[in-house]
Symmetry: C2
Subunit: 421 residues, 2 copies
Amino acid sequence: MEIELINTGSELLLGRVLNTHQQWLCRRLADLGHTVARQIAVPDTARDIQQAVREALARAEMVIVTGGLGPTSDDITRDLIAQLLGKKLMREEAIIAHIKNYFAARNRPMPANNDVQAMVPEGAVVLPNPNGTAPGLAMAVNPNLFRADGKPAWLVMLPGPPRELRPMFDDSVVPILRREFPQETPFACRTLRTGGVGESAVQEKIQTSLAALVADGLGIGYCARVGQVDVRLTARGPAAGKMVGVAEAVVQRLLQANIYGYDDEEIEQVVVRQLAGKKLTLALAESCTGGAIADRVTNVPGASAVFLGGVVSYANSAKEQLLGVPVETLRQHGAVSEAVAREMAAGAREKFGADFALAVTGIAGPGGGTPEKPAGTVFLALAGASGTAVERKLNLYEREAFKQLTAQQALEMLRQRLAAS
Amino acid sequence: MEIELINTGSELLLGRVLNTHQQWLCRRLADLGHTVARQIAVPDTARDIQQAVREALARAEMVIVTGGLGPTSDDITRDLIAQLLGKKLMREEAIIAHIKNYFAARNRPMPANNDVQAMVPEGAVVLPNPNGTAPGLAMAVNPNLFRADGKPAWLVMLPGPPRELRPMFDDSVVPILRREFPQETPFACRTLRTGGVGESAVQEKIQTSLAALVADGLGIGYCARVGQVDVRLTARGPAAGKMVGVAEAVVQRLLQANIYGYDDEEIEQVVVRQLAGKKLTLALAESCTGGAIADRVTNVPGASAVFLGGVVSYANSAKEQLLGVPVETLRQHGAVSEAVAREMAAGAREKFGADFALAVTGIAGPGGGTPEKPAGTVFLALAGASGTAVERKLNLYEREAFKQLTAQQALEMLRQRLAAS
């Protein structure tokens, strides 16, 4: 069974907004074991929307269309789809009542144009929208209308705003999927997230050992980002869970120290969980990452239980005044040096009274390098009760990627220390 | 002329990664006056990629394919497209040399599988990749192969990593667009970015005054995000530049204080430029934003000339120890209060010896609120030579959006102060 996703909205094709529906819906569907075979974005024009829906219904057993259900003149999805499927639009009084209540609860008058949201194609299922006015719609499509094989298909229409779409998907679309498309064969999926190894090196390390499983139907996908490679293992069939489990054990054995997390986990979540589990606290001293590590750590719910704070010591004077780095160390070794990284970490640990402190100092470039310390040079330091360790890296990336990679490496250094202890 | 965008990658359809290429490429193309008619994401399977490319080449005059040019087994775009277009793949020694240099500069051995990236379809233009190993490729497609009308079309293949794709698009694809698809009629586009006003209020303020220009062909687009509304003005035709210029002056006059930037400018870029122009320095004291403001400021090239540093004072002890907030103020007013915000800003200004200091303290929620200070309450403080100002906000968003909106508001407070002085 294949699903296709159609995102409508001229603003998407003008690049004014980021399409977050794709990732969210695809992730949810993949976790349920369904395959999204294609995602398409089209502008709010009748020709494009109808063409995209017609083509998708010829291929997929479920087509999910997002956007264009609101009350304004560019909200045309409902009409176009009713026309395409040859369905009359009927006014549903229950929806009018819901919209009236929605505005009444907010002490606002209901604008007249909201009426169109109560029009429902004949035979469609109305998907309630507790977080907005436009309901979603779902309908079985005449099997002989678009498909050569006469298989049944479903068309689902969801409103554009994420806070309306997401709960509606979970509450109303998932039950339809379970009822109409029960899974014939089990599906299993596991993603192992690694740091510190390149994509081709990861592949070289695990490929041969997984060859026999691949021959039996194991799927391996690699997804590389700055400083990280995800290895995604999938299988389908009665032995899917076992096959993915065996493959995971192989990858575990071969990449052990480089695996920082599983599935959706980010390294900052792993580190916050590790610290919380051991009731330990963290402080930061960031120079070249400029607050990027603190930003990531504080994105994790519950970070306040382990994260005391940090100093972004961009100027040398801040390294002296706020972290207590001796002016002599700065003068003798330079701000980007092992000695200064060490003092920054020790200083942050002391000032915040934390169990651990991570410090980073480096040259983002493109300027500022020397033959001994070229642009991209970074020193990472981790101070703990047993002393301070320093690592040197060469991160040849432009500004934002440089910051993200350095942040990832610093968090990885802490993760490995916590995992070992 | 129409352009279609095909993003390849099974990870996209599994929801493992967010597709940022769509927004970035669509924005760039739209601002150059081109229409992206459709965007499609397909998994890394031969059937899906070839089908999507074949269909797109039947409709569009340029098809841009992203991803699948790397060295691993799921990087199959190059091969599939050569096959589809009936082109042989030839090994280019210059690319091998580039890849060898790339690894040598990083003191890493070149894995053998990197060789495949040097394979180029006959007649293709190689697009250099200074930021990675896989070059891009561009080629004119045989006009009679896919199109009924025999019009020429171009196929462009770009590598998946954004830090490789973006400069390659600007440096190598834009010149091909200019040469192969010169605009028949001039196109002009200007985006004015506003903060602190809602979408319908922005529209109400400018709509009537622009009505005559709209009747003459001016396009106005509104795009609302958390805390910001972009107004995009476009025109096509011999007088396009003049029309957009007149419209811009009208919007300037009506929204003056709320306009923070133009086109792709972010508020942190504006603030760094303002500070640099006045030779003033900045320090930060962040509680609920957790380093997000520092991270944004330090993303701006040249930030080190004006940004001295910041304290992420997540724990109350950090507010006392590092910013000198009196324990009595914390006890009496609570960490989220006007008094504490004021002390944080004054403390940061003094500790860093900065001309200005911004401070934020708030309750991200969902927990932690009281009837007097519900979750979402934020105090922003700006300390300067002439004293400290404090603003109170209620930001009802989930964790990450809350941090971003609060950061935006704090930077806007500084921008307005600098603009007024």
